[in-house]
């Protein structure tokens, strides 16, 4: 953590020295989404695979679809609080356009042109397609509104300065995939689900001192960020389950020996259980195809 802070300070200084120019928040104009027609039904699929509710649902809420925010995430950099992303026009994102959502998910940039923290896993969502973002935007609009105000984060210096994220993005935000492209459409779908929407790596891959994923140890397991214990590795040298057992786990939560899923993975399974079987099979095929 010491080291992280130190590098963070250096980066911040470097970011400022290099000039606001290269670390300035980026965003795209309307042409990226031109001609796309929203399909909220597919948006629901994106929403489930993206696990948005796991972080944005109210902590004590009865209904996972009220995205009032308020869950707290302890990290070495401080505590993040998930904001309200329900369709409320004041407290939530009811007045956002699809383009606003695109820029948030693809560039980590807010409608006001500020950097978002990577605790919002846009370093995965950067790979999502424009069509999926447009569909997701339409689906989010169908969910219940909540007027609960978003809470501020509780972060130490230099992380409390949003400009410091510019240097981080420059180093770590990329839409290239970790697994090379494959001929097999099922593996390609799995790659999209895992690397773009599923943000599986956010939990299953260890991080460097700056909180960025160590792609050299992709899905090899990591310390549990919230509390004790290890998040298991799911790369082939760590997980030898056959593909159909992986798909069955994502559907039911049962391991091959009929232990039952727990921890933060339970929420992932709840989402994946609602996706079509071919999506669970595609994720399994991807995991088996990893080197």
């Amino acid at each position: 953590m010491r080291k992280g802070l130190l590098i963070g300070t250096v980066l911040l200084a470097a970011g400022i020295a290099a000039g606001w120019g290269i670390t300035m928040p980026r965003s795209d104009g309307p042409e990226v989404l031109a001609g796309l027609t929203p399909n909220p039904e597919n948006g629901r699929r994106v929403f489930l695979a993206g696990g948005c509710a796991s972080c944005h649902a109210a902590p004590e809420g009865e209904n996972d679809l009220v995205l009032a925010g308020g869950q707290r995430f302890e990290t070495p950099f401080g505590t993040f609080v998930a904001p309200n992303i329900s369709p409320d026009r004041g407290a939530g994102i009811g007045d956002w356009s699809a383009l606003n959502l695109w820029n948030a998910m693809h560039h980590g940039t807010s409608p006001e042109g500020a950097h978002y923290y990577p605790a919002f896993p846009y370093s995965s969502y950067v790979r999502a397609t424009p069509q999926d973002v447009v569909d997701l935007h339409a689906y989010l609009g169908t969910l219940p509104a909540s007027d609960t105000p978003s809470q501020p984060h509780d972060l130490g210096f230099p992380f409390s300065v949003r400009a410091s994220i510019g240097g981080w993005k420059l180093l770590f935000l990329t839409d290239t995939y970790v697994m090379p492209a494959s001929e097999d459409p099922q593996i390609m779908r799995g790659r999209y689900l895992v690397e773009a929407l599923g943000h599986c790596a956010e939990c299953h891959t260890p991080r460097n001192g700056l909180g960025a994923l160590d792609t050299a140890r992709w899905l090899e397991g990591a310390p549990n960020p919230s509390g004790s214990g290890q998040i298991p590795g799911i790369a082939p040298d760590k997980l030898d389950w056959p593909a159909n057992d992986i798909a069955y786990y994502l559907e039911t939560g049962f391991t091959p020996s009929f232990d039952s899923v727990g921890g933060h993975m339970a929420a992932v399974v709840k989402n994946y259980a609602q996706l079509p079987p071919e999506d669970r099979e595609a994720v399994a095929a991807y995991l088996k195809a990893l080197p």
């Binding site: 004790s228 039911t252 939560g253 009929f258 232990d259 899923v261 727990g262 993975m265």
Partner: protein, 155 residues
């Protein structure tokens, strides 16, 4: 540091060293063996039913009924002594039980009770053919999941 604060720090240090020693004086090994054992028996019986539901082994009404009966029988064991306060993963290295169990022990008991309800529902259909098995197992699995999500640390 003044002498006084240094002495206080030393005393605190001594207390911290002493605390784990007194804690190990009470062994929870049997408690852990008992509760992990029940969990293993549950997995074992669910595995029989799950194997049939997935078509990995042929459906056998008698064996399915017996496995479901076993789950109901375990659900009727009281969950008190083997979950003694202080036998959590902050105090002991060989358990995954989170201290949160004892922050709301009534909720822990309620989650066990809902496992029992779903086991009874499974018992009612287990002997009637492979068709209803998948859904009933899913119902039981949801109750395992709910408790593991709240009260068990990842490996």
């Amino acid at each position: 540091m003044t002498t006084v604060t240094r002495l206080a720090a030393l005393a605190l240090g001594a207390a911290l060293v002493a605390a784990p020693l007194t804690a190990t004086a009470q062994s929870f090994d049997n408690h852990l063996a008992a509760r992990k054992g029940e969990m293993q028996i549950m997995s074992f019986n669910l595995g029989i039913l799950g194997g049939m539901a997935r078509g990995n082994m042929p459906y056998d009404a008698e064996a399915a009924q017996a496995a479901a009966d076993n789950l109901v029988a375990i659900s009727q064991l009281t969950q008190t002594v083997q979950w003694a306060e202080g036998s959590d993963n902050m105090e002991l290295s060989n358990t995954r039980a989170l201290p949160a169990i004892w922050d709301d022990f009534a909720d822990f008991q309620a989650k066990w009770a809902s496992f029992g309800e779903r086991a009874v529902a499974l018992q009612a259909v287990a002997g009637q053919g492979a068709e209803g098995l998948g859904a009933a197992i899913g119902g039981v699995g949801g109750t395992c999941q709910a408790c593991h999500e709240a009260y068990r640390q990842p490996n």
